[in-house]
Symmetry: C4
Subunit: 282 residues, 4 copies
C-alpha cells in the first residue's frame, strides 16, 4: 500500500476500496436493528399524521404541524431509500419489497395538480411499509403472497365464470334490470357482488318480477360460485396442511431412519463377528 501512493491506478484502487468500504458501512447501518426500529417509529408517527390529516378539525388547527411532520417523515424515507440503493446498488431493485417501498414513497412526489392528482390519496399506502420493515409481518405477507400461485388457476376459473355469466346476464336481463345489468361492466360488478353472497336476493327478486325464470340463473350461479370458492379454500388449507404434515412426517422419517441405522449397524457387527468366527475356524 505504501508503495503506490503516487500512481493514478493506485489512487483509483484506493478510491474503489474506499467506496466498497463505505458501501459496506452504509449497508451495516441501514440493516442494523436500531435504524430499522427508527424507521418503524417514523412510519407509525407518519401513519398518525396521515390519519389526523383526514379530520377537518385537526387540519384546521394543526395544519402546519401535520404538514411539517409529514415532510420530515418523507425526507427520512427518501434518505433511507437512497442509502439502501447506495448500499445494495442495482440488486436493490430486484427485491419486490424494495420496489414496493420506492413506489409508495414516490407517490408523494406526484404533482398536486394534473391527471395523476388522485394518486396522492394513495400516499397512505406508505404506512404499509411497516409490513416490509417488521420482519414478522414481512414473513407473514411473504407467506400469503407465496400461497397466491396455488390459487391462481382457481382465481382464473372464477374470473372466467364471472365473465361468461356477465355476458349471459347482460343479454338476458339488460333491459329488465338496467340498474344491475345495463352493460358488461355493470353486470360484472353485480356478479362479483353476488359471488360475495351480498344482496343477491334483492337483485334476483327485482329481475324475477319481470322474468320469473331468472331464479334458475341465480341459483346455478350461486351454487357454482360457492363450489369454486370452496375450492380456493381447500387449495389454501391443503397447501397449509401439507406444509405442517411434511414437517412432522420428515421428523418421523428421520427418527425411523436413525432407528433403522442402529439396527443395521448391529446386524453388520454381528455379520463381522460370524465372518471372524468362520475365519478363525479356517
Amino acid at each position: 500500500m505504501a508503495r503506490c501512493h503516487r500512481s493514478g491506478a493506485c489512487r483509483r484502487k484506493i478510491g474503489k476500496n474506499w467506496r466498497v468500504e463505505a458501501r459496506a458501512q452504509i449497508k451495516r447501518f441501514v440493516d442494523g436493528r436500531r435504524f430499522q426500529r427508527f424507521i418503524a417509529i417514523v412510519i407509525v408517527v407518519n401513519a398518525l399524521t396521515l390519519g389526523l390529516e383526514t379530520s377537518a378539525k385537526f387540519v384546521d388547527q394543526g395544519h402546519d404541524l401535520l404538514t411539517a411532520v409529514d415532510r420530515i417523515a418523507l425526507g427520512i424515507f427518501v434518505v433511507e431509500l437512497t442509502l439502501r440503493i447506495i448500499a445494495y446498488g442495482f440488486p436493490f431493485f430486484t427485491d419486490p419489497w424494495s420496489v414496493f417501498d420506492v413506489i409508495v414513497v414516490g407517490i408523494a412526489f406526484v404533482p398536486t395538480a394534473g391527471p395523476f392528482l388522485v394518486l396522492r390519496a394513495f400516499r397512505a399506502l406508505r404506512i404499509m411499509r411497516l409490513v416490509s420493515v417488521l420482519p414478522r409481518m414481512r414473513r407473514l405477507a411473504t407467506g400469503i403472497l407465496r400461497a397466491l400461485p396455488g390459487m391462481a388457476s382457481v382465481g382464473a376459473l372464477i374470473m372466467l365464470i364471472i365473465y361468461v355469466a356477465g355476458v349471459v346476464a347482460t343479454n338476458l336481463f339488460g333491459e329488465v334490470a338496467p340498474k344491475y345489468f345495463d352493460d358488461l361492466g355493470t353486470s360484472l360488478f353485480t356478479l362479483f357482488q353476488a359471488m360475495t353472497g351480498e344482496g343477491w336476493p334483492d337483485i334476483s327478486r327485482e329481475v324475477m318480477a319481470k322474468e320469473p325464470l331468472a331464479w334458475i340463473f341465480f341459483v346455478i350461479y350461486i351454487v357454482v360460485c360457492t363450489l369454486a370458492v370452496l375450492n380456493i379454500l381447500i387449495a389454501v388449507i391443503v397447501s397449509g396442511m401439507e406444509q405442517a404434515n411434511t414437517d412432522e412426517i420428515v421428523e418421523l422419517e428421520e427418527k425411523q431412519a436413525r432407528s433403522d441405522q442402529v439396527l443395521l449397524e448391529e446386524i453388520r457387527a454381528l455379520r463381522d463377528e460370524v465372518r471372524a468366527l468362520r475365519e478363525e475356524r479356517a
Copy 2:
C-alpha cells in the same frame, strides 16, 4: 401389395388404409400444441367480441365487424369439432368435455326466432371452452367435478331440508307473508336465500310481526342449514386432505419398506453365512 392392384377387395383395403392414415394425421393435427393454442386464441378473441356485443355503443358502431368475427370464430369451432369427430370417430362422444364443446358451439345454431330464442343468450357459454382447451384449467375443473359425488348425499340432504321447510313454511306463513311464502316455489327460493344467510332477518322480522313465534322456525332452520353446509365443507376438506396425506404416507411407507428391505437382505446374508459355517463344520 403389387399383386393385388386390380382386385376390388384390394382397392377397398387401400382405401381403408388411406382413411386410417388420414385420421391419424388429423388426430396429430388437432391434438398438436399449435392447433390447441390457436383455438385458445380464437376463444379469447370470441370472448371479447361477445363481451363488446353486449354494449349498445359498440353494437351501433362496429356491428358488422363484431358479427363477422363472431361468425369466423364459429366457423373455426365447427371445423375444429368436425376434424376431431373425424379423427376420433364415435368415442369422441364418450368424452364429457367433447359433448360440452359440441353443445355450447351448437347453441349458436338455435333459430333466432321461436321458443328456444332465449337459449341464444347462452352462446357465451362457448367461452367456457377455454377450460376444456387449456390443460391446467381442465385438470382443475375435473378435480372439482370429481369432488361432486362426495358432496352428493349432503347436497340431497340439504335439498330435502329445504323442501320440507318449504312445505312447512308455506303452510305456516303463506297468508302472513305472501311475498316470501305464497306458494311452494316462492318458499323454496326464500329458503335457499336464507340458507346462503342473505337477508333472512328481514324476512323473519316481517313474518314475526304477525306470528311472534316464527323465530323458532327461522332459528332452527338457520342452525340446521349451517350444520349441513359445514358438513359439505368438511366432506370437501377431508377428501382434499386425504389425497394430500395419502401421497405423503405412501411415500413414507415406500421409504420404510426400502429400509426394511435392506435390513432383511442383511439378515438373510447373515443367515446364509451362518448356514455356510455349519456346513463347513459338518
Copy 3:
C-alpha cells in the same frame, strides 16, 4: 312333537313358536329391500302431494285426489310402523330413528281443531323419513348427529355469550333502539342475527346515531362471535380429519407391524440356527 298333541302346555308352546316364527317372517318382510324401496317411493309420492297441497290452484282442482293419496300414504305408514313394532317389540322404541318415524307420522293425527292445530303444518316432516329409510342418507345424518356432542361446549359458550350480550344490550340500547333491543327476547334474536353476520351494520348504525360509542360493543361482539364460530369450524374439521388420519395411520402401522414381524421371524430363525450350531459343536 307328536306326543304332546293334547296337553295345554304343548298347545301354548306351539302358539308361542308360531308367534316367534310370524314375527321373524314379518321382520324379514319389513327389513327386505323391496319393502324399503316401496316405502321410499310412498314417501316421495307423499312429498309431492304435500307440496301440491300448498298451491291454492291444485287444492281447488284436485283436492279430493290429493287428500286420497295423502290418506293412503298415511295408512301405509301406519301399517308399516305397526308391522315393525310387532316384529321388533319393545326394542323398536330404543332406536331414535324409529321414535322419529312414529312422531312425524303421528303428527297427522293431531286434531284439526284445538291448541295443537299449528302442529299439523309440520306433517311435512314426514318427508324427512326418507333419511331414515335410505341407508346412505341415514349414515350421513348419523355422522352429522355424532359430530354434535363435539360442538356442544362451543355451542353452550356461544349461547352464554349471546345471553350476556343480550342482557347488556337491552340495558344499554333498550330505549335507544326499541325495535332491536326492547326486551331480552328481542335482543337475543337481534344478536343471533348479528352473529350470522346478517344486517348488523344497519342495527349498529341506528344505535350509533344516538349512542356514538355503541360501535365498541358491536365490533367486540362481532369479533368474539367470529372467533367462537371459527372454533366450531375447527372442532368439526379436526374431528373429521382425525377420523381420516387415524384410518391411514392405522393402516401404516399394520403394514409396519407385518414388516417388523417378518424381520423378527428371520432373526429368530437365525438365532435358532446359531443355537443349533453351538449344540452341534458341543
Copy 4:
C-alpha cells in the same frame, strides 16, 4: 408441643399453625365440588334475575324480589372471592380467571351515579363467570385464548390494511359519501363492516354513483380482506390439526420405537450367542 405451652414464640407458632391449617381448610372448601356446583347454581339463578330485570313488566311486578335475589347472589360472590383470596393469598391475583372474577363482580359496586354509571350495564358480564367455574367451559375458553397469539400477526396485518384503506377512502370518498367516509373513524367502521362482507355493495354503489371508478377500490379491498381472513382460518385450522396430528404421530413413533426395541434386543441376544460360540471355540 407440650413443652412450649407458655412461651410467646410458641403461641405465635401455634397461631401460625392454626392460620395455615385454616387456610388449607378454606382451600379444600372453596375448591370442593359441592361449593363449585353451588356457585354455578347461584350464577345461573343470578343470570335469570339479570335477564328478568331487563323486562319492564317483571321489574314492575317483582322488583323487590329481583333486587333481593341479585343482592344475595352478589353477597355470595363477595364471600366466595374473599374466601378464595384468604385461601390462596397473593397468588390468587396471578390467575387471569380470578382477576376476571374480581372485576366482573366488582362492576356491581360502581356508584349508581357519576361518569362510570354506564359500566353498571355490564354487570351481566358476571354471568360469564360460569365459564371460569365449569371446568369444561374453562378448558374450551383457555383453548380459544391460547389460539389467539397465533392469529396476532394476521390480526395486526388486517388492522393495518383497514387503517390504510381508511385513510385512503376518507381522502377519496369523504366528500362524495359523508355518511360512510366523513372522517377516519367513520371510514374505519365502514371498512370493518365491508370486511365482514355485510352491505358493502350498497356503500359501493352509492360512492360509484359519483365516482364511477370507485369499484376498483372496493373490489381490491374485498379481495385483499378475503385473502387475509382466509389466512386467519388457515392459521387456526393448521394449528388445530398439528395438535391432532402430533398426538397420532407421537403414538405411531412410540409403537414403532417399541417394535424396533424388540428387534434390537433380539439381535443383541443373537450377537451374545455368537460371541459365546466364539469363546467356546477359543
